[in-house]
């Protein structure tokens, strides 16, 4: 779209089909999308419109049925499993609604998991993880188990873990969905800071207020992009009006 900005993600006519009995469900129905370095994107849309499906494909957890996906210029739509794992571990960071920490590991150990799979030596990995834990305000709780933390704290561990390998894109699927507004606000504050520091973030949300904070908003319906603000700052009212008009 804009010259001079580096495209990190390019989707072209991506479709994802599921077979439900004898019905073919098109969870994604021709998505074309470009994400630039430094983008901060909210994905909105009614339940079942394909947000998670899209994010899973962007996160290389799943592969499109048809279409093209270039991640940092590399075609990842048809990579073998091992290489997909490699891409996930090195270039992508995930944050989930239900935190998804490993229960038998401590805070630092959880942050170290992605480093472990990249073969980062123990001392180095411990140092990186400790630094990240401090950055998200958990420097005092390095050796605590997830069960000893509040939801907000657990989500901050998950953010630190997502940042461990210094990924190109951070993907968050309703990261604040399980949190009260105060803890949710803390998480979003961290996201803002990360983006300010140059990280590319894509987050799914149900909350128009949250979408307000992000410079770019994408709306999905029935597996299709119905609105993309590009890099223009979109007011929530405008977005809502637009989606209402189309509905």
């Amino acid at each position: 779209m804009q010259a001079g900005r580096r495209a990190i993600i390019e989707l072209r006519q991506v479709e994802k089909h599921y077979l439900m009995g004898s019905f073919l469900v098109k969870a994604l129905d021709g998505i074309t999308l470009t994400v630039y370095a430094g983008d901060y994107i909210s994905i909105l849309g009614p339940s079942g419109c394909g947000k998670s499906t899209l994010l899973n494909i962007l996160g290389c957890l799943d592969q499109p049925t048809t279409g093209e996906y270039l991640l940092e210029g590399r075609d990842v739509a048809r990579l073998p499993d091992d290489e997909l794992s490699q891409v996930r571990g090195k270039r992508l960071g995930f944050i989930f609604q239900s935190y998804n920490l490993i229960q038998q590991l401590t805070v630092v150990e959880n942050i170290e998991v992605p480093l472990y799979y990249q073969g980062v030596p123990e001392a180095e990995s411990r140092r990186i993880a400790t630094d990240l834990a401090r950055q998200v305000g958990l420097g005092e709780r390095l050796d605590h188990r997830p069960t000893e933390l509040s939801g907000g704290q657990q989500q901050r561990v998950a953010i630190a873990r997502a940042l461990a390998n210094d990924p190109a894109v951070i993907l968050a699927d309703e990261a604040t969905g399980n949190l009260d507004s105060k803890s949710g606000g803390d998480i979003l504050k961290i996201f803002d800071d990360l983006n300010a520091a140059g990280k590319t973030l894509i987050m799914i949300t149900h909350d128009e207020k949250m979408a307000e904070r992000t410079p770019r908003v994408i709306r999905l319906r029935d597996g299709q992009v119905v609105f993309d603000s590009g890099d223009a700052i979109v007011r929530p009212s405008a977005g809502a009006a637009l989606s209402m008009k189309e509905g």
Binding site: G59, L61, S85, N100, Y117, V120, E122
Partner: protein, 453 residues
């Protein structure tokens, strides 16, 4: 990130981390892990213990049989039990039975491959040292008897061919008899009295007179009676004796005649037996069984009634080996079943673990774990589980034979390879039964695994 690590270093480091991780996961469910490993513990312990007991039991039986000489065929005279004959014989006052000179001649001349024949005559009488006496077996035999029957002369020497020709009054005492007669002094060079003759002690012989009765009964594993029973032809039945005096056969015949007389329990007994025992050595180990068959036919022709007994140590040995083989097969099956049951237990738990940790697998996959990382993680857990079970099993398996030897007074032998084998099998079981759950874990779709509750 730049890290100058060699591939080998990385592999070792990864393995170490995986092992630590595996231990953590197992530690999370201590009770479950322990119960799972218990199956392997008992499997391994029972393999080692049963092998040790079996080995110990068959060892004693086989040792005894081997001492009889695997190339030997042993013939013994047996007092006939037939009532009619006994009555007839009683009237003639002298009981005549058993192996004859004719048998011996025919065996020597007609059976192919006969190398040496060791005849022996036996009587039972008191042996005197001054005023001290012991009731003992007197065995008249030939100079090559110890070598043939695998008995060791522990002090002094055995008598020579020359002493046989000279009908010398020399004797060799069994270790027990020597101790009874000369409790405080060295018996060698001293003299003992048998009836009216004096014999010079020239040696001490080791080893129990291996009871052929016991050997005949010990085709199986249970026949390792410690004290050989010598139900000698003239001795009271069931009397145990390891008191034995060996003298040249020629001397025995000359001094005590063809008819052996004995005053015992208030009545005279007289019997005429040419040889109480004959040991035949066959020069070709492969011909022992066929020669034994030929001798059996020969004796059947010569004797109207069965007043002899034939013992083929090789046959006994084969039977003992066969029994041991059967025992080992039974034991191996039991061990295999118990280990497989243990392995199924492990597999069962690992499948449950995989289901329970589906979420964790999804998380790890999302964070960059390859399928093989997941496989190795779960495989390492099963191997740790079964390996730990195996180690404890080895310890228990080594303790059981010790306890049995200590309290049941049974010989047990732990072969050096048995614990190693049992432990290896336990690890192999861990791998074999861990592979399926591990691959099932790795094969899960990451998206679905993450959605799993």
């Amino acid at each position: 990130m730049k890290f100058s690590k060699t591939v080998g270093d990385l592999a070792v480091w990864r393995l170490k981390r995986s092992v630590i991780l595996g231990l953590k996961s197992l530690w999370m469910h201590k009770l479950r892990s322990m119960l799972t490993a218990l199956g392997i513990v008992f499997g391994v312990a029972s393999v080692i213990a049963m092998l040790a007991i079996g080995e110990g039991a068959s060892h004693e039986a086989q040792e005894q049989i081997k001492n009889l000489g695997s190339q030997n065929i042993i013939l013994q005279s047996v007092k006939p039990t037939n009532d009619a004959t006994a009555g007839e014989q009683q009237r003639s006052l002298i009981l005549s039975y058993g192996l004859t000179r004719r048998d011996l001649e025919q065996i020597r001349n007609t059976i192919p491959g006969v190398e040496v024949v060791v005849p022996a005559r036996q009587m039972k009488d008191y042996i005197w040292n001054i005023s001290h006496s012991v009731d003992a077996d007197v065995l008249g035999t030939v100079s090559w008897y110890p070598e043939m029957r695998g008995r060791r002369v522990s002090a002094g020497r055995f008598f020579t061919n020359l002493e046989m020709e000279d009908r010398s009054n020399v004797c060799v005492l069994s270790a027990d008899l020597a101790k009874r007669l000369f409790p405080l002094s060295d018996p060698i060079g001293r003299e003992v009295r048998l009836q009216r003759s004096y014999f010079r002690v020239i040696g001490i012989i080791e080893g129990r007179p291996i009871s052929t009765d016991a050997a005949a009964g010990s085709g199986g594993l249970g026949g390792g009676s410690q004290k050989a029973k010598k139900g000698g032809e003239k001795g009271a039945p069931g009397e145990e004796s390891t008191y034995e005096m060996l003298i040249p056969l020629t001397t025995l015949v000359e001094r005590f005649g063809e008819v052996l007389m004995k005053y015992r329990s208030g009545s005279f007994e007289a019997e005429k037996v040419d040889f109480h025992e004959v040991t035949v050595k066959i020069n070709d180990p492969d011909k022992v069984m066929t020669s034994a068959e030929a001798i059996r036919h020969l004796l059947e022709r010569n004797h109207k009634e069965v007043d002899y007994r034939m013992i083929v140590p090789l046959e006994l040995l084969r039977r003992a080996e066969r029994t041991k083989q059967i025992f080992n097969i039974v034991l191996g099956s039991i061990a295999a079943i118990s280990l497989i049951v243990g392995g199924i237990g492990i597999m069962n738990i690992m499948l449950a673990t995989v289901t329970e940790r589906t979420r964790e697998i999804g998380i790890r996959r999302a964070l960059g774990a390859k399928q093989r990382d997941i496989v190795s993680q779960f495989l390492i857990e099963t191997v740790l589980l079964s390996g730990a079970g195996g180690l404890i099993g080895v310890a228990v398996g080594l303790a059981i034979p010790m306890v049995i030897t200590r309290f049941a007074d049974m010989l047990t032998i732990v072969e050096f390879w048995a614990p190693a084998l049992a432990f290896t099998i336990s690890v192999v079981i861990g791998v074999a039964f861990g592979i399926y759950p591990a691959f099932r874990a790795a094969g899960m779709n990451p998206v679905e695994a993450l959605r799993h509750e």
